[in-house]
Amino acid sequence: MTEAVENQVEEQAQPEEKLVTLTIDNIEVSVPEGTVLVDAAKKIGVDIPVFCYHPKMEPVGMCRMCLVEVGRPVFDRATGEPVLEEDGSPKIQFGPKLDTGCTVEVSEGMVVRGYTEEVVDARKEVLEFLLTSHPLDCPICDKGGECPLQNLTMRYGPGTSRFIFDEKHHAAKHVPLGEIIYLDRERCIQCARCTRFQDEVVDDPVIGFSQRGRSLEIVTFSDPGFDSYWSGNTTDICPVGALTTADFRFGARPWELKASASVCNHCPVGCNTTVNTRREAKSGGELVIKRMMPRQNEYINEIWMCDKGRFAHHYTQSEERLTQPMVRNEVGELEATSWEAALDLVAEEFKAASDGLVTLAGARLSNEDLFNIQQVTEKLGGKALQNTHMAGGELVASVGVGQGSNLSDLGEGDAILVVASDLEEEAPLYWLRIKQASERGATLVVANPRDTKLSSKANYELRYSYGEEAAAVMALLGSISPKTPGESEAVKKLSRGQEVKDAATAISEANNLVVLYGNEGTGLATSQSLADACANLLVATGHVGKANNGLIAVWDKGNTQGAYDMGLVPSEDLAADLMSAKAAYIVAADPAGDDATLAEAIKAVEEDAEKFLVVQELFLTESAKLADVVLPVQANTERQGTYTNAERRVQIFYPAVPAPVNVHADYAVAANIAERLDLKLQKVIPAQVMAQIAETVSDYAEVSYTKMAEVEEQWPIISSEDVFYGGTSYENEQGMGQQLQPASQGGESPALSFAQVADAPKVDGLLAVPVTRLYDRGSTVVPTELLSERLTPTSVVLSPDDAEKLSIEPDAEVTVKLNGTETKAQARIEAGVPQGYVLVPRSVGIALNSPSPVEIKA
């Protein structure tokens, strides 16, 4: 980092804060003005017990557990001087009653006592009162063992009760709030953490209080029940076992669980997670994944994670997993064989194919896998492709967010542009953190053809037609520096109107600017021009090469950025590339299953006796069924590796369960093939693969497993001893990862190409555009039965007008004629979908790579 940049980072990290000094339990502490007592105490390791307070939410002062004695210095009214005691110390006036530590803000000279008899008694009484209506069924409670009420009762509780036993309150114990979260009404202590979380933090107010007093209960207003992508988090912060997940129901006692650090690869955020495992008799004594928990990383997921990441892990231990290498025999059937035989055959065929090798890798793989796969391909002079419909990886490497970025630093005076993205569906945690930045005062500009959940937070909303994504960004740029040459019709049209001009002014005046582009309605070509346009905007406004500025691509897969960095590029015409291959090496991708045209291409490869198809996979996918050789591999929970997220933070995941005996990690399989091609690649230790990556890929020169594993002190402090404060999210002891420096931060001036701005495609009739839904039907999601009812059905989404014109009823079955194929699908009708367009969710059974004309028949 250059000196200038360094200074800037520091400035941002420490905005001017007035410090206030006070004494808590005889320890002096200085904290920023506005801090509440509970937090101030936490900083010096003094515990003020809480139930309703949570460091990530506004205090409400509902439970009274945090009562403390608060004293303030006395000032002489006449002179304004502090009154002194005889010994010269300032005189402190204590309040007549106890104060709630979670709502009282610190002030200069304050004295707080949390150990006096009065305080101790108050805590006893609060607990005694809470327990009058608590079932005390800790033995069967999933929270038992990590329960704030249990822990605080043991530490501060009275031990006996003066209340009449027979008046103990009883209520329903098994109330499903939807099929994912269960409520035990008896256990609820009415702290409102869950409802406040849903309302304040994630803006999904689908649960709330009903009735009053002892009859008060949590209810859900949505259909399906508790319809939120965030519901699992409420079970982490509920201070009792009132909310629990169906997934972990009676799965294990918390103290029996082993914990391994991992990183979610379902989306490009890369949430830090902890995999909890336990031996299970039902599974023959195998170590089984019992639950997935968030692990704190304030750069990425704070202490949260989405329900997809939390629940969609069952694929890793599915019965359907491949366990044996297979080779097609004389009669044309796949037959189990040894690794030696399979690899020898693969190497021989690859050698024969030489530069006719086409490799297609999916970005669910780790950097190590992708690197080794790319090296094998490069050695033979083949084509290394990745399976994505989003372009711009090189641009992100050049003008991506600077090293030291943290979306939590964005606030007043900063601006964020989100373009072509239904952010909550594409990357839930980015949605959350952008929303929070906007609440902290950052100017949020949302450009999208229709309303998304982020729209309500937008300061400026820009509308364009599908296909004009780049034009929308160029219109913004045009309003800032009007000299932009070669304006198209679309740009001119979009430049009209005050909203664009205001948004452009806000962007140009912002201290920091982060641009996120997603894949709402874009195909590879439009994605490229969109990325170019975004990069141009950032460079033109000088928002590159420093922390908290730059480009974030909301990738379609977990490690797309890593795949770009390892040198794998998307294919402009995958079918043609596959057809032209002499040998195809398909890893963690299923083109035949995704798309009928690709299936044809793969079949052609398979039928041609000269050609050779290798599929390296977890499951026997449609593509694998056609392969000449199938190589089984380990899931990410069975091995180590790294992912690079969309902010280019490289993070390690660790093995949680042992792999099946006869399968290997992808990097090892690739290295074994390489060995047979006289190429030396690391195949045993992922850290050594990373060392090789660091030598080969210049951006990764500084990356090492040791540095990625370094931890920092984080706020709020989450630790396993005091689950009452932050919830049951795991403490991060395994590393914050390492953020890469974009080329522009290294002083290189970014190589920009002018954005190819297209006008919206004109069609008679309807245009189908691909969109992303979080709960899709990918092979890593479907094996999770718990989510089955929530997965997006094979469907298309129409505007109400179009539906009426075609006389289609909501949820009716329709025939979708698209790119020469016909599919039966459910018709959903959503207000907000622009007229003339049909949204086609990706990965739910209808293949669509870029906007195409479509015919819908009732």
Binding site: L136, P139, I140, G144, F165, F250, R253
Partner: protein, 174 residues
Amino acid sequence: MNLYNPLKVVPPLVTGLWTTFKSTLKKPVTIQYPEVKRPVRERYKGRHELKRYDNGLEKCIGCALCAAACPADAIFVEASENIDEKRFSPGERYASTYEINMLRCIFCGYCEDACPTEAIVLGDNYELSFTDRSQAIYTREMLLDPVPAGGEPTPREVEPGSFDRSIPEMKDPA
């Protein structure tokens, strides 16, 4: 010592035979094990038993507190959910797997102390011998008491809502 001096040899011989003779008239202390067995003391700690309520429902709710308390790590519990059509124990949860490895157990009785429902009790049985290590693992079926007279075996179907509490109703200590 002269071994051939009768005065020195005979008296001890007679004393010995006298003791033998006296003993033949006493009640014997030995018993004919295994045909005959001596009753154990009241608080004897022998092989564990998983108890049932009088109605036949199992007392164990699969909480694994016994496993947590066990200093020898001898117990393994896995829980599952009860439903009214297929009920094993009162409340929502029962032990679908319950194993004690008798080779590890030191018969300390901590499991008994930890149990919130008095389900696991160290019984009278001390006849634990195995010809194979795996036989030392006592499963739920082996540990469960027989169904008492008038009770019904588990699992059984019950009226919905009739057994919805896991922990027996607590008595007012006052």
